[in-house]
Subunit: 124 residues, 2 copies
Amino acid sequence: MTKRRLPAVSPSETEILRLVWQLDKATVQEVCDSLPAKRKIAYATVQTLLRRLEKKGYLKHRIRGKAHVFFPSVKSEKVIKRSVNDFLDRLFGGDPVPLMQYLAEHGKIDADDIEKLKKLIDKK
Amino acid sequence: MTKRRLPAVSPSETEILRLVWQLDKATVQEVCDSLPAKRKIAYATVQTLLRRLEKKGYLKHRIRGKAHVFFPSVKSEKVIKRSVNDFLDRLFGGDPVPLMQYLAEHGKIDADDIEKLKKLIDKK
DNA sequence: TACAATATCGTACAATTGTACAACCTGTCA
DNA sequence: TGACAGGTTGTACAATTGTACGATATTGTA
């Protein structure tokens, strides 16, 4: 089992990749349609991003009619792990606590969320 | 008060900027010295990054002897806010909960941390 | 079967990013 | 005062990123 290191996913690529995860599998069109209204990217751009993700090894595709249907070929867990760690390292020197603090202080998470997390941790 | 939008901070720049925050103010040398052992970047590279951060408006400098002493000219809060939001948007569609979950599940935060967060939220 | 609609592919291109060399200044100490 | 250690500045350059046009291929349909 050759475990070669996958190339990094760029920010815009991440955005697109997330949509594919969300949709489970998707054509260029479908990804375009599920873009948040705020973030309008041209069809051609989405296409390029999907192509690059496939070349980098994060997606594969199957043909359906004349369209390509892209689907993940790497567990999202893996990508998330890398991204989060990287982000944490750069912005907080690897310490997750300030990040949590930020989220708490800015009302991004509430008491309920905390309660759920508590359970999650206890269960482990 | 003209509130112009600051240019984005690139990942490597973020890394350096964080060190300046941590040191409060620092010369190129000092930043180099405080780089984590893992991440060895050449002096010249650190220098360029600091220069770019200053040009982008995140740092200023004063002269001490022959060296430049860089210090923040924008509150770290501001940068963190942008970075976190951006990160959250791209990787999780803006929802912080999965991120917290990830952190909890991977032992990045423990029950104690949760306790502290709880207080933080209640206090608000 | 020819056409309109829809997709993909190849290609492009400017901006940004990461990385760094070489040349040039400037205190400091002998 | 002259040399040197240590700084800074200018510049470079390949790779990556974000964005997208134009040409070509395919399919369902009239």
